[in-house]
C-alpha cells in the first residue's frame, strides 16, 4: 500500500483501491462463517477516537476490529467538553504515550486527520473530518457497486443531495474518478460547491434527467440545519425537486441501483418504499462497510507488506 495512513481518497492509487476492494470480498466470506473471526490483528490495539457523534460508523469499525481479533478502545468526546484545540493535542499525545497501533478518528474539522498525523506515530484512519473526506465510506460504496455490477470503470454514478456539506460526496468523487467511473452531481444550486466541475464531474439540477443517465444513485441525507442557513427554503421544496420517491422512479422504466450512506430521512430525500425495494443495496452497503473496513485495517496494520507470494 502506497500510503501508511488512510486520510482521504484524493490522489489515492487505483491499484490500492482495487486491492482493498478485492480483500474486502475475502473478508465478506469471513462474515458468513459461523465463527466470524480471523487472528490477523491479534495483539494490535486500535483506538476509535470520535469527536463527533456517529453510532453506525463507530460500530462498523468496532465490529471490523473485533473480527480481526484486535483490541478496541472507544473514546467519545462531546463538542461541549472539547476545550478547543488544546484537548485535541493533549488527547493525541496521551494516546501516543499508551503505545497504540492505530487510531480511527472522526472530527468536525477538515484537515483534522492530517493534523493528527503530526502529533502521533500510530497509523491514522480518517473516519470523517468535517466537510472534507470520509474515505472508508467511499470505499464501501465502491465495493458495493463492484459487487453489484462486477466493474467500476465506465459506470455512471449520480450523487444526489447536499454536496457542499458532504464528505461522503467528495471522497466518492475522488475514488470513482480514480477508478474510471463517471460522476454527475445533482442537488440545489446553493448546496453544490463552486468549482466542483474542476474535479471532472458534471452538474445537473434536473433529477429526472440524471436518473435517466445513471446506473446507480447515491442519495445523501438532507439536514434540516440547511434551512436555517438560508440555503434551502423547505423540506417540501427539496422533496418536490430532488426527492427519490416511488412516484418519480415509476416514471423511469429502468434498472437502477439505489444507495444511501445512512442514516436516512425516510420521506424526505428517499421514500420508504424505495429504500426497502430490491433496487436498493443499502443493507449490502452496511455489510460491505464492515468487510471493507476489515480489509483496510488488515492492509494497513498487518506486518510489512511484501508482493503477494506465499
Amino acid at each position: 500500500m502506497k500510503h501508511r495512513h488512510l486520510l482521504g481518497l484524493k490522489d489515492y492509487p487505483a491499484a490500492d483501491i482495487k486491492t482493498i476492494i478485492d480483500t474486502a470480498f475475502s473478508f465478506k466470506e469471513v462474515l458468513e462463517r459461523p465463527i466470524k473471526k480471523v487472528p490477523s490483528l491479534n495483539g494490535k490495539t486500535i483506538v476509535n477516537l470520535f469527536f463527533e457523534n456517529s453510532t453506525r460508523t463507530r460500530i462498523s469499525f468496532e465490529l471490523a476490529q473485533k473480527r480481526l481479533s484486535a483490541d478496541t478502545v472507544n473514546f467519545s468526546a462531546s463538542t461541549s467538553s472539547l476545550k478547543k484545540g488544546e484537548t485535541f493535542k493533549d488527547t493525541a499525545q496521551n494516546l501516543e504515550a499508551m503505545k497504540i497501533d492505530a487510531v480511527v478518528m472522526r472530527h468536525p474539522t477538515p484537515g483534522a486527520a492530517l493534523h493528527l498525523t503530526k502529533h502521533i506515530d500510530a497509523i491514522i484512519i480518517n473516519a470523517g473530518d468535517g466537510t472534507h473526506e470520509h474515505p472508508t465510506q467511499a470505499i464501501l460504496d465502491m465495493t458495493s457497486l463492484h459487487e453489484k455490477f462486477g466493474y467500476l470503470e465506465g459506470l455512471k454514478i449520480a450523487i444526489i443531495g447536499d454536496i457542499s456539506h458532504s464528505r461522503v460526496a467528495l471522497s466518492n468523487i475522488y475514488g470513482l474518478k480514480t477508478m474510471g467511473a463517471e460522476v454527475t452531481l445533482c442537488g440545489p444550486a446553493t448546496l453544490i460547491p463552486p468549482f466542483i466541475e474542476d474535479l471532472g464531474v458534471s452538474v445537473n439540477y434536473n433529477v429526472d434527467e440524471v436518473i435517466e443517465w445513471a446506473d446507480a444513485l447515491n442519495v445523501l441525507r438532507i439536514q434540516r440545519e440547511r434551512m436555517r442557513g438560508g440555503l434551502l427554503p423547505s423540506i417540501r421544496e427539496y422533496r418536490n425537486l430532488f426527492g427519490i420517491t416511488t412516484e418519480r422512479l415509476s416514471k423511469h422504466k429502468k434498472e437502477l441501483v439505489i444507495m444511501h450512506p445512512g442514516p436516512m430521512n425516510r420521506g424526505v430525500e428517499i421514500d420508504s418504499a424505495v429504500a426497502d425495494s430490491d433496487q436498493a443495496i443499502i443493507l449490502n452497503q452496511v455489510l460491505n462497510g464492515v468487510a471493507s473496513r476489515m480489509a483496510i485495517l488488515y492492509l494497513l496494520l498487518g506486518g510489512k507488506f511484501e508482493e503477494g507470494k506465499d
Binding site: K10, K84, G85, E86, F88, K89, H107, P108, T109, P110, G111, A112, L114, H115, D129, G130, T131, H132, E133, R167, L170, P193, P194, F195, I196, D198, L199
Partner: protein, 429 residues
C-alpha cells in the same frame, strides 16, 4: 541578533547609498557621530572610529511599516512593544505603526499617550493608530482630535471592518478636518460567514468553509465611493484580490487621496499553499489564487499599490497548533518581509531595487507624514544596510518576535538585512 549602543563615531564604508527620496544610488561612505548623520561622501577612517564594511551592500533609509500588531496592552504573552521592536529591527524597520485592536483597544487619548510614552523606551519609533470607533464596536466615533494631539497618526478598527456604512462615511467625513488616513479592514462579514480561506478550487478540495474575493472587493468599492463623496483620505490595508485592485486603480485616476498597501504573504503565497492545512497561512483577508497574486505584482509595479506593510500578527503556539477552524487569523512578518518581497518582486518579477525600497521607505512615510529626509546632515541616523543578493533560508533563529507563527520558515529568501541603525543603537542581524 546583536543589539548595542552605537559608538561615538561610526563610518559605514564603501556601500551603495540608495537614496529613495533623491532617487539615486551612489557609492560612498557615511559618518555617524553621536547617532546623527555627520557626513556623506568620502570619509577617511581611522583607528578610533568604528568602521563597518559595507562593500557590495546597500545603505538606505530604515524601513517604515504602516501595519503591525504589537499586542500590548493585553496580550504581552504574544508580543510586547519591546519584542515587537526587536522583530522590526531584524527586518530592517526603524518605524512601525501599530494597530489598535489591543486589550483595552487604543480608542482614547489616554491609551494613545500610553503607547507614545512606552515607545520612547523602545529602540524603534512606534506610532499608534487609533481606533475609529469606541471599543471597536462600530457604534460611536472616538475622540480623534484629542488622540491626534497625543500622537495618533491614523485611524482604523483593523481586525474588524466598519460594517455600518453610515459610520464609515462619518469617519471619513470627520477625518477631513485633520487630513489623516482612515484605514478600513475591508471584509463583508455577512458574505464571509465562517470562511477560513479563499473560495476556490483549493477550498473545494479541502472541504474548508471559504469566502469569495467579493468579500473584500465589495467593501473596498464602498469605501472608495464614500471617500469620493466625503473628500476624506482612505488607505486600503492588505489588499488581497484582483477585483479590489481594479476598483482602486479606477478610483485613483480621479482621486489622489487614496493609497493602498500589500503584505509580503499575499505576494509570496497562493491558496495552493494551504493544501497542508498549515494554520500559519490562515490570514484575513485570505491568501488567494495565482491570478490574484499576479495582479498584486502588477499593481506594485504600476503604483496602484503604494507600499508594503507586513500586518505582523503574533499568536501563541498554543493558539496556532490546534485544528484549522479554531486557529486565530494572522502571521508574524517583520523579520521575513524583505527577503520575501525582494525575491518575488526584484528577483522573479524584474522590479528595480530602488522602486522596491521606496515602497518600504519614502512611500509609507509620505502617507503618514513622517520625515523622509533621512540623509540630511544632522538628522538622527535611521538606516538599514542590506545585502541585496544574499540567498538564504528563513529559520526560527531569524525570528525576534515573541511568537513564531510564520509560514516563511524553511522558505528560500533573496536579499538580507545585515544591520539596522536607529535611535543611537545598532542591530547586527
Amino acid at each position: 541578533m546583536n543589539f548595542s549602543k552605537l559608538k561615538k563615531q561610526v563610518i559605514l564604508k564603501g556601500g551603495k547609498i540608495l537614496d529613495p527620496l533623491a532617487n539615486t544610488i551612489k557609492k560612498g561612505d557615511i559618518l555617524i557621530q553621536e547617532g546623527k548623520i555627520k557626513a556623506i561622501g568620502k570619509v577617511k577612517s581611522n583607528k578610533s572610529v568604528q568602521t563597518i564594511d559595507c562593500k557590495n551592500l546597500i545603505v538606505t533609509h530604515g524601513f517604515c511599516d504602516l501595519h503591525a500588531h504589537f499586542r500590548e496592552p493585553g496580550r504581552e504573552d504574544k508580543e510586547t512593544l519591546e519584542s515587537g521592536s526587536m522583530a522590526a529591527l531584524a527586518g530592517g524597520f526603524t518605524r512601525v505603526c501599530v494597530m489598535p485592536n489591543t486589550n483595552p483597544p487604543i480608542d482614547s487619548p489616554e491609551v494613545i499617550r500610553y503607547i507614545v510614552d512606552r515607545s520612547d523606551e523602545c529602540p524603534v519609533y512606534i506610532h499608534p493608530i487609533g481606533a475609529i470607533t469606541k471599543g471597536q464596536e462600530g457604534k460611536e466615533l472616538t475622540e480623534m482630535g484629542a488622540m491626534l494631539a497625543e500622537g495618533a497618526v491614523a485611524f482604523s478598527d483593523d481586525g474588524l471592518p466598519v460594517t455600518d456604512s453610515a459610520m464609515m462615511r462619518n469617519a471619513l467625513d470627520y477625518g477631513t478636518m485633520f487630513d489623516i488616513p482612515i484605514i478600513n479592514h475591508a471584509e463583508d462579514l455577512c458574505l464571509k460567514q465562517d470562511g477560513v480561506m479563499h473560495e476556490g478550487i483549493v477550498s473545494t478540495n479541502l472541504g474548508l468553509l471559504s469566502s469569495p474575493d467579493l468579500t473584500e472587493s465589495n467593501m473596498v468599492h464602498r469605501d472608495l465611493s464614500l471617500t469620493n463623496l466625503t473628500g476624506g483620505r482612505l488607505h486600503v490595508p492588505h489588499v488581497s484580490s484582483a477585483k479590489s485592485l481594479d476598483h482602486i486603480r479606477f478610483s485613483k485616476k480621479n482621486n489622489d487621496k487614496i493609497t493602498a498597501e500589500v503584505t509580503p504573504h499575499h505576494l509570496f503565497f497562493t491558496d495552493n499553499d494551504l493544501q497542508g492545512f498549515d494554520t500559519n497561512l490562515k490570514v484575513a483577508p485570505p491568501i488567494r489564487t495565482i491570478a490574484d497574486q499576479k495582479a498584486l505584482v502588477k499593481a506594485v509595479k504600476d503604483c496602484t499599490l503604494d507600499c508594503i506593510a507586513t500586518d505582523h500578527a503574533p499568536h501563541t503556539i498554543e493558539e496556532k497548533e490546534g485544528t484549522f477552524d479554531l486557529a486565530p487569523f494572522g502571521m508574524i512578518g517583520l523579520e521575513s518581509c524583505f527577503g520575501a518581497v525582494n525575491k518575488v518582486l526584484v528577483k522573479e518579477n524584474d522590479m528595480d531595487q530602488l522602486s522596491l525600497i521606496q515602497m518600504l521607505t519614502t512611500k509609507p512615510r509620505a502617507i503618514m507624514g513622517f520625515n523622509n529626509k533621512l540623509f540630511d546632515i544632522g538628522v538622527n541616523a535611521e538606516l538599514t544596510i542590506i545585502d541585496p543578493k544574499e540567498e538564504w533560508v528563513f529559520s526560527r533563529k531569524d525570528i525576534q518576535s515573541r511568537s513564531h507563527n510564520s509560514p516563511f520558515i524553511g522558505q528560500n529568501m533573496y536579499g538580507r538585512i545585515k544591520y539596522t541603525i536607529n535611535k543611537g543603537h545598532i542591530s547586527v542581524i
